[in-house]
Each structure stands twice: as structure tokens, then as C-alpha cells.
């Protein structure tokens, strides 16, 4: 739960690729945010109104999830994810059994 009491923390946000031009015409690669103690990566995403997209979060050079807690002096990079779509069926890591429609069968 995010706390709203205590001294606010200062966090550097590094924005990459399309996030650099979010709500701005001039690309901005870094934003300094003052956040309430207890803020997480998700707080940053909400604060900056980042649209829904697949993002890799790198907090002080470690990849983290959106629930990672932020601390004063942290640097958080928001990197819009890219790859070839192999994982497009997220969460589904098995595939259906083969049949013989293709006129191909396994060799002995």
C-alpha cells in the first residue's frame, strides 16, 4: 500500500524510444519525479500516464516487476519492449499436438 506520509523521495526516470515523446513534442530522456514514500514502479507508470504497453523496467540496473518499491535516489528506466512476437501467447508455453494434415510424419 502506498504511503502518503513522510518525506517525498526523488527518483530519476529514464524514458526510451516512444516514451520520450509522451505528451511532449521535444524528446525527453530523463524526468525527475518527487514521489510519496512507498511508491512503486506502477506509481511511476500511473503518474506519467504511460499508455498500456509491454514495458521492461530496469531499476538501478536490475530488471524488476511493476510492484518493485522505489527509494530515494533510484534510477528507473522504462523501456518499451520489442521482440519478434514468439511470446505473443503469453502464459501459454505448450502447444497443441501434431496431426497428419501436412503429409509429414516423423521418421523412424
Amino acid at each position: 500500500m502506498q504511503s502518503t506520509t513522510g518525506e517525498r523521495i526523488s527518483v530519476t526516470i529514464k524514458l526510451h524510444s516512444v516514451l520520450r515523446t509522451l505528451e511532449t513534442t521535444e524528446p525527453r530522456s530523463r524526468v525527475l519525479l518527487e514521489l510519496a514514500p512507498g511508491s512503486t514502479v506502477a506509481t511511476v507508470v500511473a503518474t506519467l500516464k504511460i499508455p498500456e504497453m509491454d514495458i521492461v523496467y530496469v531499476l538501478n540496473e536490475s530488471v524488476v516487476e511493476s510492484n518493485a518499491l522505489l527509494h530515494a535516489g533510484d534510477t528507473l528506466a522504462l523501456i518499451p519492449a520489442l521482440e519478434g512476437g514468439c511470446c505473443a501467447q503469453r502464459g501459454k508455453t505448450e502447444v497443441q499436438p501434431i496431426n497428419t494434415v501436412l503429409n509429414i510424419r516423423r521418421m523412424s
Binding site: 516512444v18 499508455p51 520489442l82 502464459g91 502447444v95 494434415v101 516423423r106
Partner: protein, 569 residues
């Protein structure tokens, strides 16, 4: 009715044959594996008369559906000694289908000492022509001369000096839709196989031919609309890929600690922000002129992830610059200047070299003390050594494995003799499983797991992730579809079967992609088994299981027994 063009370079007999029954419903990568099993002795010399150079457009090729006109080129690999499918964009595959060809098979061996020739294919047939004026020339000069000779409407698949010298880093270069020879069937030394068949280039003249008639046009057109609409709505294919291209992967892989740095000795590059997608984007936009971050490699592609990189005067250096080149030729060599990476990319293209294999070989050479890390000018000199055909140049041009053997370097990033791509398998372990087990040898395009829902640093779950990715990739390679099209197909899940059935009048079902992928891998593994491959070949280099990779300090530790069971479906 599609036909198979058989070209025998021993006898110069050329024939247009009916498609064998067993080949009718396979194409692209799957057809290459099928042809190899049916017609190529698995233990043959890859450069001998029994091997075949196979051009096989994918199932969907020919209709200019976005990202779906890709060509598979294959044969028994002179680099790995196993099955090889090398995939490319450009216009070659499209024009092959327009000419009514299911595949081109180049068979036999030319007479000893015979000069390389051109194979010219058009609406009126096929024939050989001499090409003494382009022998020994780089790919760009060759392109200019051949386009002057044959016109600007033709497609050209050609080798450069590296292929002519039979260096195992050599691929086959193709023209993009603008006539620039920037597309390459890069992996697995297909350029060497082409040289072994006595060919400098294959000229594909589509003449007045156009898209083949559709079996069910309404069904095909409806599916195309759904698919293209989905591509236009997905943030990756509508915004990130078009504006930033694959160069944006630099930041991701650097974040994961998986970007190859100084011959795979580190997973994080301290100068990553100088060579990331933002840096390349801003240079291309800021310099103006011919530079353009948004460029299509294939006619009809709506994603346009390719780019044109220009110098300070706005003059094109090379097109495109891709992430894997940035990783292997940039961070892997400690080079942090985008212009230098672009110039090296151009030189490798001109030589007809795979940038992954050559970048890895240069990394090995640097570790051996032949260049300082970050010394791009020295890397350029080494490329000149390749062009001159010096002993040192040939060592590097033959790829990372041979370079390591000759130069006495133990840290050589290869599997089955082929260089590992720009995703260090100790920090993206699922992709490591792909490198290890794929019948193709180390190849990220055989199954990248970068965004799989799995902890990349732990061994658990990596085999399942790799299995899914490998099946999908083998399916896409056989469709002739770019994997980036997957974003559209996932939002329009019936599009693949409707496009296939609408184009060919077949009756494939919803699980077609999976079936195609699994069947393709089964065929490939069987060819490799008959060629003498065993589970011992399905391993990463041992040093990657012993030497921890900074900054995560992880080794590759996916159990071998799990990897050996990956294809037990």
C-alpha cells in the same frame, strides 16, 4: 499450377517439373527440410555435387500481404554440416512465386576451374550467362552493373567476394524493394554453397507477371484486412518498430545484462546509450537527407522496421542497421560510435558476409590481440584483409569457430559451428536452449524468448519457453512470414488459416502454424541425425557453463537432460 525449377550445373540441363505430391503443402523452411531428406544424402560434402542449393518461398508468399513475402534459402550447411534454412526479406521470394515457381533447386557441381556464372530466370524460361565483368566485385558494384544489364525491375540474389572465396561467413545478398542490396540470407554459409554451384548471382526477372490468382479471394481479402488492421493497432508494429526498429533492443538486452560485450565477456555495455535505438533514431532524423528510421524491406510491408542510416551530410551509409549487427559489431567489439558500426556493416554487406558471424569472429580476433577493443579502424582494416583474401582475412571471414581454432582462443561463442547472436544465453537462458538445440545451430531467429513469461536468469521453464518459440518460428519461416507479423496474427487469430486457405484452396485448421512448425523441426532433426549429429551437439560451449556473466553473475545451467527432451511432443 506451380512448378519446381531444377538447374543441374553439372550438365546444364534446366527443367520445369511438376511439384511432387509430398511437397505440395509444404513451402519455405519446411520444404527445404523435406527436399534435403528426400534428395540430399545427409553425409554428403556440403560443397560437393550431391548437395543442393534450394530457394523456397513460404506458403503465403506472392500476394504482397504485409511482412509475408519472405524467402527461405537452404541446403546442407558448409558452416554447420547440418540442415540450413536462411531467411530473408526483399523482393526475391515474391518474384519467384510470380514466375509460378514453388522452388528452385540447383544441383550438381560445375566443371573444375569453371568461372562463376549467372542463372537468369524469367517468364520465358531460364538460362546461364557469363559474368566476367562482376567477378571479384563487391555486392554494391555488382548490383549496379547487373541492374544496368538486366534492368531495375529484376530481383538479384548474389554473393560477394567472401562467397567467391568460399569463406564460411558468406551469405547471399538480396535487393530490397528500392534496389539496395541490404537484405541477406546470412546464416550458415549459403554464399559458399552458391559458389560451389558455380553461381555469382541468380537474376529473377518477373517480366509482366503479377500476383497469382487466389483460390478464394473474398476469404483471403477479408483475412488480409483483419491482419493489417491488427498490425496498425498494435503499439509495437504501428509505432515502436516503424520509428525505432530493432535497434531499440539494445536497451532491453543491456537491461537484462545480455548484450554481448567484448567477446561475450560481459552482459552490459557501458556505452549502450551511445548505440541504442534512441541514438540511431535521433541521428537518422537529425541528419536528414537520405537517412530514414522508417523503411520497408519488402513491398507491401506496413511495419517498416528497416531503416536507412546516413552520414553527417545526409548521404546513405548503409540500410538497414539492425540490433544483432549493433550487438556483434558494436558492443561485442567495444565499439560505441554508430557511424563506425554503420561503415563496418556496409563493408560486411559489400563483402557478402553475415554480420553476426563476422562480428563474432572479430571479437575472437580481438581477444587474441589482433585489435584493441573499440578500435573500429582496425576492424575496418581486418575487413580489408578479408577483401584481399589474405590468410588473416580468410581466418576471420571463415567465422568465429575457425578463428578461435586458428588463433588459440577458448572463448568462442558458437553452437554447431555457428556464431551465437546478440543475446547472451547466460542471461536469456531460454534463447540459450534454442541456440543449443535448434537443428540450425546457434540462431536467435530459431526461437527468441526475450519476452517469454519466465525468469531469464533461472534454469526453470526455459525448455518450455524455447519449445514454444521454436515451433512458432519454424511455422513462420515456413509461411514466409516475418515474425513481426505475429503481433497482427495474434490479434486476428483466424487470419493465418484464412490467408492460407484463401490463397491455395486448402483446408488447414486453426492449429496449422503449430503443426507446420513441429513438422518442420522433426524433418530437420532427422536430417541432422542422419548426418551424424547426436545430443552432444545440442550443447552450448562448455565455457558458458563455467564462466559467470556479469552483471548477473550467472552461468548457463539448464539441465542437459531437459534440453534433450525438448522435442518429445
Amino acid at each position: 499450377m506451380l512448378r519446381v525449377l531444377r538447374v543441374n550445373v553439372s550438365t546444364d540441363v534446366i527443367s520445369f517439373d511438376p511439384v511432387p505430391k509430398a511437397w505440395e503443402r509444404v513451402a519455405g523452411r519446411a520444404l527445404i527440410a523435406r527436399v534435403l531428406l528426400d534428395e540430399v544424402p545427409p553425409e554428403c560434402d556440403p560443397c560437393g555435387p550431391h548437395n543442393k542449393l534450394i530457394f523456397a518461398p513460404g506458403v503465403l508468399v506472392g500476394q504482397m500481404v504485409s511482412s509475408c513475402d519472405r524467402l527461405s534459402i537452404g541446403g546442407k550447411s558448409p558452416l554447420t554440416g547440418g540442415v540450413k534454412e536462411s531467411n530473408c526479406g526483399g523482393s526475391t521470394g515474391l518474384h519467384i512465386v510470380w514466375l509460378g515457381l514453388k522452388a528452385i533447386l540447383v544441383e550438381g557441381s560445375p566443371a573444375a576451374g569453371a568461372a562463376l556464372r549467372l542463372l537468369c530466370i524469367g517468364p520465358d524460361g531460364a538460362h546461364f550467362e557469363e559474368c566476367s565483368d562482376v567477378l571479384g566485385l563487391g555486392v554494391h558494384e555488382t548490383t549496379q552493373r547487373l541492374r544496368s544489364r538486366f534492368g531495375t525491375k529484376v530481383s538479384i540474389a548474389m554473393i560477394g567476394p567472401a562467397g567467391e572465396m568460399r569463406l564460411r561467413g558468406a551469405g547471399i545478398m538480396h535487393l530490397d524493394k528500392d534496389g539496395n542490396p541490404g537484405r541477406i540470407s546470412a546464416r550458415g554459409a549459403m554464399g559458399v554453397l552458391m559458389a560451389a554451384k558455380g553461381l555469382k548471382a541468380v537474376i529473377i526477372d518477373p517480366g509482366k507477371t503479377r500476383r497469382p490468382a487466389l483460390a478464394d479471394a473474398p476469404r483471403h481479402n477479408a483475412a488480409r484486412k483483419l491482419y493489417v488492421k491488427a498490425l496498425a493497432e498494435h503499439p509495437q508494429t504501428s509505432k515502436i518498430y516503424p520509428e525505432y526498429g530493432t535497434a531499440s533492443i539494445v536497451d532491453m538486452c543491456n537491461g537484462f545484462g545480455a548484450i554481448p560485450t567484448r567477446n561475450f565477456s560481459n552482459g552490459r555495455f557501458e556505452h549502450a546509450e551511445k548505440i541504442n535505438g534512441d541514438a540511431f533514431h535521433d541521428l537518422m532524423v537529425g541528419r536528414g537527407g537520405e537517412g530514414d528510421p522508417t523503411h520497408a524491406c519488402m513491398a507491401g510491408c506496413t511495419i517498416q522496421c528497416s531503416n536507412i542510416y546516413a552520414d553527417v551530410n545526409g548521404k546513405q551509409i548503409v540500410s538497414p542497421v539492425e540490433y544483432e549487427t549493433i550487438g556483434l559489431v558494436g558492443s561485442n567489439l567495444g565499439i560505441s560510435e554508430p557511424d563506425m558500426i554503420a561503415h563496418l556493416n556496409y563493408q560486411m554487406n559489400d563483402l557478402g558476409l553475415d554480420t553476426i558471424e563476422t562480428g563474432a569472429a572479430l571479437g575472437v580476433a580481438a581477444e587474441a590481440g589482433l585489435m584493441e577493443w573499440g578500435d573500429g579502424l582496425r576492424a575496418m582494416q581486418l575487413m580489408e584483409e578479408v577483401r584481399k583474401g589474405t590468410a588473416l582475412g580468410r581466418v576471420i571471414g571463415n567465422g568465429a569457430k575457425l578463428a578461435g581454432e586458428v588463433l588459440g582462443v577458448q572463448r568462442v561463442p558458437v553452437v554447431k559451428g555457428q556464431a551465437i547472436s546478440a543475446y547472451d544465453p547466460r542471461a536469456i537462458k531460454g534463447t540459450g536452449v534454442t541456440y543449443a538445440t535448434s537443428p540450425q545451430g546457434a540462431d536467435h531467429t530459431a526461437g527468441l524468448t526475450l519476452r517469454m513469461p519466465v525468469d531469464h536468469l533461472k534454469p526453470e521453464g526455459q525448455v518450455a519457453a524455447s519449445r514454444t518459440a521454436q515451433i512458432r518460428m519454424a511455422g513462420f519461416d515456413s509461411l514466409g512470414a516475418c515474425i513481426f507479423g505475429a503481433f497482427g496474427f495474434n490479434l486476428a487469430p483466424t487470419a493465418i488459416q484464412d490467408l492460407v486457405n484463401g490463397q491455395h484452396g486448402w483446408d488447414v485448421g486453426a492449429d496449422y502454424l503449430t503443426e507446420l512448425g513441429k513438422a518442420t523441426i522433426d524433418l530437420e532433426r532427422e536430417f541432422n541425425r542422419r548426418a551424424g549429429f547426436t545430443p552432444a551437439d545440442d550443447r552450448l560451449p562448455e565455457w558458458m557453463t563455467l564462466e559467470a556473466l556479469a552483471p548477473n553473475n550467472t552461468v548457463f545451467d539448464v539441465p542437459a537432460a531437459e534440453m534433450d527432451a525438448i522435442y518429445n511432443w
